[in-house]
């Protein structure tokens, strides 16, 4: 394929990606160093109220937004350097909290709170998702052929459901005296409120994510199990390998590339955790990095969006993505080099 033809075929897709992915990235970087604010002016206002002999007059200095000729509030954009990053990271308080060695103090700062949750969420769900997916795949592979179709159908439901709705559907089972909370209360004999403290919400969020992603890992591992070399399995049996040893030394090594693939995809997706916070409405207790950006972008009571701080938060979020991607890129590069040779 000549370069010109290739370019013609790729051009529309490339154009969209440059315009809507690459350009916004640059604009986010730019926005994080600049701050757009309304211009305020100080005016001396004299208010007089009628009095008995003479008027009571009060003079005070008020600041009010400047209204431009077109009737809109005048805004100005100024270079603020790292100010937005400083607002977000709160270095003074952070250092103070670290000096005290108090984690609770540190986690009062939104950014660290979000980072803490995002990282623990990613790292805890990763092994669970792989393990549960593998167990389902093995169990389905064991099952009678005729029930595999229906089981796959049911398994796909949690995967395909809208994330916000999936989180809500689990929330509704527990909210107030929902049936599962009632069941837990009956079992433990204590009063339980699942949404009154952070850690119970976090458990539900972890459960939701595993429930949502396990079908995906299951389907991939199940497809991998179909291609396990039967001869190797048989020779393992002849060598006297037990069932567990066969799983450990034949099946899992065969699935290893898939496990790596699933792990990388899951790391990317779990790092972007967002819908759980909306669905479980946990913003008062637990927030994630993406939710923090979302929250800063949502207009506050006076209709202002903190674009600059949201941009700074986005840039900091991306640093994490870079760390996640380096192993993936190195692997792809190795494969490519291997193929080219």
């Amino acid at each position: 394929m000549r370069f010109k033809t290739f370019a013609a075929f790729v051009a529309p897709s490339l154009f969209l990606m440059v315009l809507f992915i690459a350009a916004p990235l640059i604009s986010v970087l730019w926005q994080s160093f600049y701050l757009t604010q309304q211009v305020f002016e100080s005016v001396e206002v004299e208010t007089c109220t009628p009095g008995f002999v003479e008027q009571n007059c009060v003079t005070e200095i008020k600041s009010r937004p400047v209204i431009g000729d077109d009737g809109k509030v005048v805004t100005e954009t100024s270079f603020v350097g790292l100010e937005s990053y400083r607002n977000l990271l709160q270095p003074a308080q952070t250092v103070a909290a670290l000096a005290q060695g108090s984690l609770a103090e540190l986690l009062k700062i939104d950014f660290w709170k979000a980072l803490r949750f995002t990282l623990t969420f990613t790292l805890i769900t990763l092994p669970l998702v792989i393990l549960v997916g593998l167990c389902i795949a093995l169990a389905v592979n064991n099952a009678v052929r005729s029930i595999r179709g229906p089981v796959i159908f049911i398994s796909l439901l949690p995967f395909i459901i809208t994330p916000v709705i999936g989180a809500l559907s689990i929330r509704w089972l527990f909210v107030g005296d929902g049936i599962l909370t009632a069941a837990l209360e009956w079992y433990t004999g204590r009063d339980i409120a699942m949404f009154a403290q952070g850690w119970t919400i976090e458990i539900l969020m972890l459960f939701y994510r595993v429930w949502h992603v396990a079908p995906f890992t299951f389907v991939i591992f199940y497809a991998g199990l179909q291609t396990v070399n039967q001869d190797t399995l048989e020779s393992a049996i002849i060598d006297g390998a037990s069932r567990f040893e066969r799983l450990r030394f034949v099946v899992i090594p065969h699935l290893m590339p898939l496990i790596v693939f699933v792990a990388l995809i899951h790391l990317m997706d779990a790092y972007r955790v967002f819908e759980e916070v909306v669905g479980f409405r946990s913003e008062a207790h637990v927030i994630s990095l993406q939710y923090l950006t979302f929250d800063l972008l949502t207009p506050d009571d006076s209709g202002n969006r903190s674009i600059s701080r949201a941009s700074a938060n986005s840039m900091l979020t991306m640093i994490g993505i870079v760390f996640l991607l380096i192993p993936l890129l190195m692997r792809t590069w190795r494969d490519h080099r291997g193929k080219a040779r």
């Binding site: 315009l19 509704w172 005296d177 950006t293």
Partner: protein, 385 residues
């Protein structure tokens, strides 16, 4: 065929494997099943702590809303009839509606007519006919399971959820068609070109796929809000404000989805033998003609699968649509959060449940129809490398 003795499993292993599978299936289906049950009950029953109250709905039944034994029998018969029509007549309808010989269009139209018909029969015709009959039947016509459609009615008609539904329809339809037409071209070129430029494009796409969507939205928001002023030098006074425009959101979602789409389509195109288009080239076709005449007829399985995933992305999206669309043009998923802000009464909560079930129902049908394509799409990227 009998399994070799060495491979045979002990009863304990079989039992634990089977019970694990049952446990998983219950866990997978239960929350979805349960919200579906809740949505048909009055609030007291829906949020009762006794599960049997939720299923049978005594308060709903006491209010005279429910299904009698006769209704259940009639409903089952109607369901069987629906199944019969779906399997026998929809295909014929589809070929009759294939205007201009376009099969996919015929199927879409036939499916839309069939679904609308089913909803009308179950939602309006059946209750209207069965109600009077029940009152004549005496004990057989007395409700035994509480069931009410009032929340659906409140959501869809009183709260105008149908507007959100049409917005979702516009956004998803736009995203699927545009991202497929742009993506197939790129995916085809990337699959056929072994150059290192193609490799680097794919790597960059992979990096783009990992970006959190909130980062991108942060980049869009200020230019979108101010776009009328930014674009004025080019378009003059007709410069549009992109914020709140469904077609702007469509372009955004298409672009966000583009990396995933081209990776997936590329892996499908890799499976179509290159000899096919080489033969067409020898016969004198240009690259584009070869693509149109030879590749397009055989690429549909991959395109349908990729289309399904584009559909899911657009349909399930919360973050982009919540931030870039205003309240008038809101799609279904962000619209549901409107119920939280005024979630003061339990009625509002059950209405939110009904809205959630309404959003989930199309996805349920989708899995039923396209299970095989979804599974093949999930494994396409992974197993082939």
């Amino acid at each position: 065929m009998s399994t070799p003795r060495a491979l045979r499993q002990s009863p304990a292993l079989r039992l634990s494997s089977a019970s694990f599978l049952v446990l998983w299936c219950v866990m997978a289906a239960f929350p979805i099943f349960w919200i579906a049950v809740m949505s048909f009950k009055v609030p007291i029953d829906a949020f009762a702590s006794n599960p049997f109250d939720v299923i049978f709905g005594p308060t709903t039944r006491a209010a005279g809303k429910g299904l009698s034994l006769f209704d259940i029998v009639a409903g089952a018969a109607l369901l069987a009839l629906t199944w019969y029509v779906a399997t026998r007549h929809v295909a014929r309808l589809a070929s009759a509606l294939a205007i201009g010989g376009s099969q996919p269009l015929g199927w879409v139209l036939a499916a839309a007519i069939f679904i609308a018909g089913t909803l009308a029969v179950f939602g309006f015709v059946a209750p209207a006919i069965l109600g009077p009959i029940d009152s004549l039947l005496g004990p057989l016509g007395r409700p035994i399971i509480g069931l009410t459609m009032e929340h659906y009615q409140a959501v869809w008609f009183d709260n105008q959820f149908y507007r959100n539904f049409f917005n979702s329809l516009i956004v998803t339809a736009g995203v699927v068609t545009i991202s497929l037409s742009v993506g197939t071209l790129a995916g085809y070129a990337l699959a056929r070109s072994g150059s290192s430029l193609a490799f680097w494009l794919l790597i960059i796409a992979l990096v783009f796929r990992a970006l959190p969507h909130s980062v991108l939205v942060t980049g869009y928001l200020p230019p979108f809000i101010n776009s009328a002023e930014i674009l004025r030098p080019i378009f003059g006074d007709a410069a549009p404000t992109l914020y709140g425009k469904p077609w702007a959101v469509i372009m955004v979602l298409v672009s966000i989805n583009q990396p995933f789409t081209i990776w997936m389509l590329r892996s499908f195109f890799m499976n179509i033998p290159a000899e096919l288009d080489e033969a067409a080239r020898v016969d004198g076709c240009s690259h584009f003609e070869a693509f149109r005449r030879v590749i397009m007829p055989v690429m549909w399985p991959g395109v349908i699968t990729t289309g399904l995933f584009s559909f899911l992305l657009a349909y399930n999206d919360y973050l982009v649509t919540a931030l870039l669309l205003d309240a008038q043009n809101q799609t279904m998923v962000p619209a549901i959060t409107g119920y939280f802000n005024r979630e003061t009464t339990t009625t509002d909560q059950v209405e939110a449940v009904a809205a959630a079930v309404s959003i989930t129902a199309p996805l349920f049908v989708l899995v039923m129809v396209f299970q095989r394509q979804i599974v093949s799409g999930l494994t396409a990227g992974a197993v082939k490398g």
